[in-house]
């Protein structure tokens, strides 16, 4: 192995993935006219950093980095294993797509606020995925929430501001609950580092209370049924790229925290709690699917579909096997790509016709063929039809359900797939017919159409490169030691 490649692995890529977007945010705030090229350059640089981190992990295994040389329990540690690598990769790819899309979407006035906020959010995300202690997770979570709220409010108008306000209140409530939980744990065990806590934690009423608080707070932020009501209005009234990053990335961050805590800190959680989470997930799948069918506006429909897909993630909790976790992770990844593509496509349609009423799509298939192809391909992944990432996820979850004998979760999965199929094909069907209401058409920039298509292709390609992604996931054994054959 040549020395150059070996030495590449020694650069602290993890830290750079946090520092670079921060730098990008500040510079685009200071030089608003250069915001666009600065933002794009930062995005590309982050992708390279994540690739470097991946290389580092493949070569050297899971990484722990002490910021400023101060290790735990005094200082802040950054920890990268397979799971966080996959989350970072997802963020990088989706982020790059959104950055390119936003070049064409925002006018100069909005762009000067969008780019700093977006870079700031990205920094918070990367920091969250690399955090190794629960207080750091709280900080990054809070920053993430604030940046997201600001981005939602960016569109202006009554809808957006109401949605943003509601989002802010919910976000604060959730963070508060989480912080209470952190406090309880710190009080009991004297440390906030996850690795140290994992050794010390034991089953006691304080821990139960802490766990309950943290889980509730995170469920609020992940918009699991019945705490999902804020999501549709927030995601639908935001500008298209913001909706994309909200659905694809922000809600996944709190789920990631929940997953980490569940696997590391609370292995003694009772099976009943897992069943409860699964039940809520099933309700989310069905509720979100049914609501999506009723919608008349495209972006609301896509937002409700997010509610449904997030429910899938929670089906893995009662299944508690490696196959189940892998399935949930695949839902996460493919949903990120597919939902981004869908929101981008919806943005294109909105840009083209000035409205997003489904029945009046007016032969979009002829005017915006790339967009509708992107929508259809993303829909294939969301429905779980082969050959896409969604299909692999569905297969794995079904397999886990049948193997563990809890076949009713499989039924929920199937029903969710059928509901998604119903609304995907409804939209695609209307894309072929002519609308009765004439309206003027605006040409959509090519960059916007192509990014939508490319993101949809990513969702499809996720289904064809499974062994490599699974190999990456295994680094550091995030699921190792967890998951009996329940």
């Amino acid at each position: 192995m040549p020395d150059v490649l070996l030495s590449i692995a020694d650069i602290p890529w993890g830290v750079m993935t946090i520092v670079l977007p921060l730098a990008g945010a500040m510079s685009s705030f200071l030089w608003p006219r250069r915001a666009l090229p600065l933002g794009l350059a930062t995005a590309l640089a982050i992708v390279i950093c994540v690739a470097g981190l991946g290389w580092q992990l493949v070569q050297q295994g899971a990484q722990r980095y002490a910021v400023g040389g101060w290790g735990a329990p005094l200082g802040i540690d950054l920890y990268a294993d397979g799971l966080s690598l996959l989350m970072l990769m997802m963020t990088a790819v989706v982020g790059l797509g959104i950055s390119i899309y936003s070049c064409g979407y925002f006018n100069l006035e909005r762009a000067r606020y969008f780019w700093p906020l977006w870079m700031f959010l990205w920094a918070a995300l990367n920091a969250l995925f690399l955090s190794a202690d629960i207080f750091n997770l709280y900080v990054t979570l809070e920053l993430l929430g604030l940046a997201a709220v600001a981005l939602v409010a960016l569109a202006g108008g009554a809808d957006a501001l109401t949605g943003a306000m509601r989002y802010l209140l919910v976000s604060l409530l959730g963070s508060l609950c989480y912080l209470l939980g952190v406090t309880l744990l710190y009080h009991s065990f004297g440390s906030v580092d996850i690795a140290i806590l994992a050794e010390r934690v034991e089953s006691s009423p304080t821990v139960w209370a802490a766990m309950g608080l943290m889980i509730t707070g995170l469920l609020l932020k992940t918009a699991l049924f019945p705490l999902h009501f804020w999501l549709p209005s927030a995601h639908a009234s935001a500008p298209a790229p913001v909706s994309a990053l909200l659905s694809a990335l922000v809600v996944k961050a709190s789920f990631y925290i929940l997953l980490r805590l569940w696997l590391e800190l609370f292995p003694f959680a009772s099976a009943a709690l897992a069943q409860l989470l699964g039940l809520l997930g099933a309700a989310a799948v069905l509720w979100g699917g049914l609501q999506a069918l009723r919608q008349t506006q495209l972006k609301m429909l896509i937002a409700y579909s997010t509610v449904a897909q997030l429910g899938y993630l929670f089906l893995a909790f009662p299944l508690a096997s490696i196959t189940g976790w892998t399935g949930a992770l695949y839902v996460l990844l493919s949903h990120a790509a597919a939902k981004t593509a869908m929101f981008m496509a919806a943005g294109n349609i909105l840009y083209f016709g000035g409205h997003d009423r489904i029945v009046d799509l007016d032969r979009v298939v002829q005017h915006l063929p790339l967009t509708i192809t992107a929508f259809a391909l993303a829909g294939i992944s969301i429905m779980g039809l082969p050959p896409s990432g969604g299909f692999i996820a569905k297969w794995l979850l079904l397999e886990a359900a049948i193997l563990s004998g809890q076949w009713w979760w499989g039924i929920v999965l199937i029903l969710g797939g059928l509901l998604s199929a119903a609304w995907v094909f409804k939209v695609v069907g209307y894309a072929f017919t002519r609308s009765e209401v004439p309206h003027e058409a605006r040409a959509v920039p090519a960059a916007m159409e192509w990014t939508a298509l490319l993101m949809a292709m990513v969702a499809i390609l996720l289904g064809l490169f499974v062994p490599w992604l699974l190999a990456l996931m295994e680094i550091g054994l995030p699921f190792g030691g967890v998951g009996s054959a329940g």
């Binding site: 429905m383 082969p386 049948i402 199937i414 059928l418 094909f425 072929f432 017919t433 499974v466 062994p467």
Partner: protein, 498 residues
């Protein structure tokens, strides 16, 4: 270059790559588009021929790509898949010529031909699939690729027909998925093995296996148009004639029937299926489908709907032949896969000709059309007689083997089904022929287009003549060395040899 591993991929690529390129061609580039289409079709035919030759001489063609831990994407050429691949390749070439002529001047041809090529890719993928998950993958791909062709015209009727189609096929695909995953958890493998891989499982899982069988057959039966899952087929006739011809008469329904053959032969094994007791109920369902389809066809005035119900009835012959546990009946069922495809595509081509040239959509408008379009009606006559089972045409051979096999296996009631079906076929085909040849025509055809001295365009006339000639040839030369019949007998010996 390892030809053994690459050739199946090349066969797929020969229609996938032209299709993807055609999507991006501008509408006006007719010559390039037609060339791409025809070159792709011819290439696929040549490659399929090479594979058949290789199989005959004992070579192996297999492509294996990792999909999931423990499961591969497997493309394998065995005699049964070559039967279907051969049929698809020949008929795709003929239909491409027909479609080029039929859609001349219509809008959105690039989109049409792009999806057309994707459909054929999916069909060939279904044929070459070497395990159940690859089959499932291409099966769903077929659904997705045929939907845009049904809604191609963009009218409200087309949209609703597409919706019905999707409801049926997506539900069917879901059932197939459940069955496949369950089977995988029970058996640990999904690769197609002659005589099945399930007979080694212990008796405790018999109930589960029966339920899985029902799920799989229900999922496949939607595309194969078995009662009561056939409702999408008559409505899908709103698509343009080349789509009805190739896809709904040949590719999609045959994919379903082919899947049923695969499940019974290469997943369960025919002897194991008989032991489980699932073959007789399926045979009864097929018999009911045969009679019901023919009876519905009697009352249709719309020509394409009548042919659609006839398809429902005829494809069930294949299932009936397989489920009569006996080698001779199996030969009948398998060879009918080819024969029915050739005959039905001729009928749909002729129906398309009548609609395009004279604006005829109903049987009641067909009086005297034999004098105006004699060659088209001659092809229709040959195919119709073939359907009825008149010797020496293709249908006679299939019915012969089905009847003989039924007698051989002791299932005499099948003979009555065959006789009744022949009578009903005569009942709804002969009036059409009579009206066309012997009645006096009305004063004016509904919407006539003139083609000079020819009765219709060359591209519309040649394909039905070619396929009618094939109908005659596969019947007359059925005992010749390379006929579909001999190939079907070859396949059966592999399955039934102890």
């Amino acid at each position: 270059m390892n030809w053994g591993a690459a050739l199946p991929l090349f066969v797929l690529a020969s229609s996938l790559l032209p299709g993807l390129v055609i999507f991006f061609l501008p509408e006006e580039r007719v010559a390039i588009r037609s060339t791409l289409n025809l070159v792709g079709a011819a290439l696929k035919l040549v490659l399929a021929g090479v594979m058949v030759w290789g199989i005959f001489h004992g070579s192996h063609f297999e492509t294996r790509l990792p999909l999931l831990p423990g499961l591969d994407l497997l493309l394998r050429a065995d005699p049964l898949s070559m039967l279907f691949v051969g049929l698809s390749s020949i008929l795709w070439l003929v239909t491409t010529v027909y479609a080029i002529g039929y859609l001349e001047g219509s809008p959105n041809r690039s989109r049409f031909f792009g999806f057309f090529s994707l459909c054929v890719t999916a069909t060939v993928g279904v044929a070459l699939a070497g395990n159940l998950i690859t089959f499932l993958l291409f099966y769903e791909l077929l659904t997705l690729a045929t939907y845009p062709l049904i809604v191609h015209r963009g009218t409200e009727v087309a949209r609703r027909a597409g919706r019905t189609y999707l409801i049926y096929t997506v539900a069917g695909g879901t059932l197939l998925l459940i069955g496949t995953v369950w089977l995988y958890t029970l058996a640990g493998t999904l690769e197609f093995t002659p005589r099945g891989f399930l007979s080694t499982l212990d008796g405790a899982s018999s109930t589960a296996l029966v339920i899985i069988f029902v799920l799989l057959i229900a999922g496949l039966g939607v595309k194969a148009a078995l009662i009561p899952l056939h409702g999408w087929l008559p409505q899908a006739m709103v698509a343009p004639a080349p789509v009805s011809a190739l896809l709904h008469a040949v590719a999609v329904v045959k994919a379903g029937a082919f899947g049923i053959v695969r499940v019974i032969y290469d997943v369960y094994g025919i002897q194991f299926s008989a032991t489980l007791g699932v073959t007789l109920p399926l045979a009864i369902v097929a018999a009911v489908t045969i009679i019901y389809g023919s009876m519905r066809a009697l009352f249709q005035d719309d020509l394409k709907r009548r042919l659609a119900f006839s398809t429902v009835s005829q494809v069930a012959y294949i299932v009936l032949g397989i489920t009569i546990v006996g080698p001779i009946a199996a030969v009948g069922g398998l060879v009918h896969l080819v024969h029915q495809g050739v005959m039905k595509i001729t009928l749909f081509f002729c129906a398309g000709n009548l609609a395009e040239t004279l604006g005829i959509h109903k049987v009641s408008e067909m009086n005297g059309v034999g004098r105006r379009m004699p060659w088209t009606m001659a092809a229709f006559t040959i195919a119709a007689f073939g359907m009825i089972g008149v010797p020496p045409l293709a249908g006679f051979i299939s019915k012969w083997y089905l009847g003989l096999g039924a007698l051989d296996a002791g299932q005499g009631w099948v003979i009555f089904i065959l006789a009744g079906s022949s009578l009903l076929n005569a009942g709804y085909f002969l009036p059409i022929l009579y009206a066309a040849w012997f009645k006096t025509p009305a004063d004016a055809w509904p919407a006539e287009r003139s083609f000079g001295r020819r009765e219709t365009a060359w591209a519309l006339l040649a394909p039905p003549l070619v396929t009618a000639f094939l109908t005659l040839a596969v019947g007359l030369l059925a005992s010749a060395p390379f006929s579909p019949l001999q190939w079907a007998r070859f396949i059966t010996t592999l399955e039934y040899a102890e």
